[in-house]
Symmetry: C2
Subunit: 201 residues, 2 copies
DNA sequence: CGCCGGTGAACGTTCGTTCGTTCATTTAAA
DNA sequence: TTTAAATGAACGAACGAACGTTCACCGGCG
């Protein structure tokens, strides 16, 4: 999408590494202090870099935030597409629920979700990213639901409600800072099965 | 909890009114711009009041935010306790789901929820308020569920999942800025009924 | 008069961002 | 191969604006 010439010089390699370090450090700061309470100096200091250099790698603060949002949604898309291919429709739904739940319930993801959602309310670019992710999730899950006998006209609405359950549950678990337990996951899967009237497996 | 003597003077009445205006204005600012992007000057200017006067009514910015969080949780407690008294257990659950959903899906509530949740991550006082609210919700709903034949040991977990569904769904609807439609409410109630295996009514 | 709600300038701090500069690496000419 | 020019990563002081908060000072009720 960007370089026509990858430029395999040593300089370019260290630059990429530095940029990755800065993003990772920014995420750590955002999770620890919150986006609003994190300044450019905080990120630079934690990364062991000057403020000026930080601006050599990112045009501005908002661009840095947007980049992180972009990475997060890309990670999510990976999780979704990997789950999509599964033989039995029932198993596929279970797998989807579990994967998406575990992804969202990760404390880092959970905190970032809240922080970035707050950001998305006033940033159209980030909001668009989230809408795209949501649409992908609904489509994927709705297809699986349709494969279980639900009518195509109702599947998207049911998929949306299931996603609401997963996300709400994941936030509740993830924001406590603890890793999600197997008990949480099992209860969630059973709950969704019943809601879809699939309990007979 | 505070005054032993209500002080019914005219002066005191205007002071209370002014304080209420300031809180209302602060909420409006927080919803429009976000808590992080709202300064004390913004609130004062919008309320047609000086910054100094704002500090006559509230010790500081954090106290103002905490006060709003306190009001929000008190409103929620009202909604919950009013629903608690209902003859039939099945009807009571439907009523609970509908009431809590409509409350959370209100755009102002939805935005405030996200904003204050972000705040609660680093503010123990606000976090405690939220935990208390959550406990009340789980207890209330779990009691209703128990009345429908669920075992007491499993009811709280099911209640938690239902609350997750309601809150997740409400956020999704409320953050778009639109009022929740009857279709949303009905689909949600059906979803919960199936998840509780009460579909036969 | 005394009290207190109300004012807005001013304080010190921190914010995002810019700037001139240094210097190692890369590229191209000799 | 040696050398000179070009590049851009890295720096940290400095900028103006905005932040939360304070303060000395009014002016109208009680």
């Amino acid at each position: 999408m960007e370089d026509g010439e990858p430029k395999r010089t040593r300089r370019d390699a260290t630059t990429r590494a530095r940029r990755a370090l800065l993003i990772e450090t920014a995420i750590a700061c955002f999770v620890e202090q919150g986006i609003a309470r994190t300044g450019m100096r905080d990120i630079a200091k934690k990364a062991g870099v000057s403020v000026g250099n930080l601006y050599n790698h990112f045009p501005g603060r908002d661009d840095l935030i947007a980049e992180i949002a972009r990475i997060e949604t890309a990670d999510l898309a990976d999780v979704v597409t990997q789950v999509a291919r599964c033989a039995d429709a029932h198993d596929a739904i279970d797998s989807f629920v579990e994967s998406y739940f575990l992804y969202c319930a990760d404390p880092i993801s959970a905190v970032l979700t809240v922080e970035i959602t707050s950001e998305a309310l006033r940033n159209p670019a980030i909001d668009a990213l989230f809408s795209g992710s949501r649409a992908l999730l609904v489509d994927t899950l709705a297809t699986l639901i349709t494969g279980c006998g639900w009518r195509e006209t109702q599947a998207p609405a049911q998929a949306a409600l299931i996603l609401d359950t997963i996300e709400g549950s994941a936030l509740r678990v993830g924001l406590t800072g603890e890793k999600p337990g197997k008990r949480d996951t099992k209860a969630l899967i059973s709950f969704v099965r019943r809601a879809l009237a699939l309990e007979g497996n």
